[in-house]
Amino acid sequence: MAVDVNRLRRECVYQASTPLEAVAGDLAQIETLAAAWRAARKRLFLAGAIEMALGAIGLAIYAPVGLMLIALGACFFVRTRSRPRAVANGAARCALAKSVAAMLAHDAEPNSPTAIRLAFKPKRELLSEDPLPHRKNGKQRLYKASWFSIETSLSDGTTFTETIDDLIRQRSFTNPRGKSKVKTRTHTLLGMRFAYPQKVYGDATPLAARMRQEIRLPSTGSVRGLEVTARIVKVKALVTQSSDLAPAGSMLALGVYRMLNLSRELQAHKRAQPKAGGPQ
């Protein structure tokens, strides 16, 4: 499936429902496109800045030429808008989406549709706004920006869903010199949901505590929630460094599946028991 480049330009969003192999191809295409747009934006900005500078000099020498050069410079700046900055600088997000797709490719049901959404400029949702004590005009706002989701069927019958949200803390205040300051800190929330088939894995509920211990994350990540029911495992982790997102995602899934695999062994043993004790 070809990437909808117009939508990518307009909304900075890639959304598709297609087999995982096609998703991987699309993401590779977007990564190449992002790199090309980044290089083009750099060139256009440089050309625009040079034209503007020459135009300023030209104004002093012969005004019509100066104005023409300034107009040409402005034209270069306007042309950068067709290559949105969010996508051009979004190679890291694209690489992360690729790594998730690559991890799932080992175990996904072939040809089953994968629903994916990758937003390079997600809408911020205001979670809270509080005054910041001990600061003049101090305010603290917390936002959530959901920028990635993927859902696919794995070959064991599990439906896997992953979401990634940025949690943004924005503090604004006026410093003693009277300048307005805004400080932003971003952490990332990884959410995973495994709707597993009870027929294969039995009930994994008794393994919940052990599952939490089994999940190993990079030092910048921590498990923030785990819920295990007879049909679903939900897990959330907070990662403070974006470069650790890809390993944290794989490690989270590995930790959950290590216990699901154990649950399957126990389930298989339970099934075998009545046979062993059955009629001779």
């Binding site: 126990l266 043993h269 004790g277």
Partner: protein, 104 residues
Amino acid sequence: MTPPLPPNWKCPRRVGFLFPHECRRTTPVGCPDCQNGQIDDPYYSRVDRYGYSRYDYYDDAYFFDFETSYEPDAPDAGSMDFTEADGADLAEPGGQFENDMTES
């Protein structure tokens, strides 16, 4: 050179990253998992599972914790019946031990 495979050949190896499953390839040639048939158990042999060096291995504690009735090394339930030798032990329980007050 790889010998020709019989028709309807099915790969017997386990593959997968999160869980083991059957390999769907029709030939080991060019397979990134078994590397042209060089690796017997690609699922077990993966080295890209970050901190998990023995992902497929669970020591007995895991089984005892969650399935008290499951004892991997115990004999089958069928062989748990008493034998003549067990009966002899019961008949001579070594009562001297309980009567010897010099022992602690």
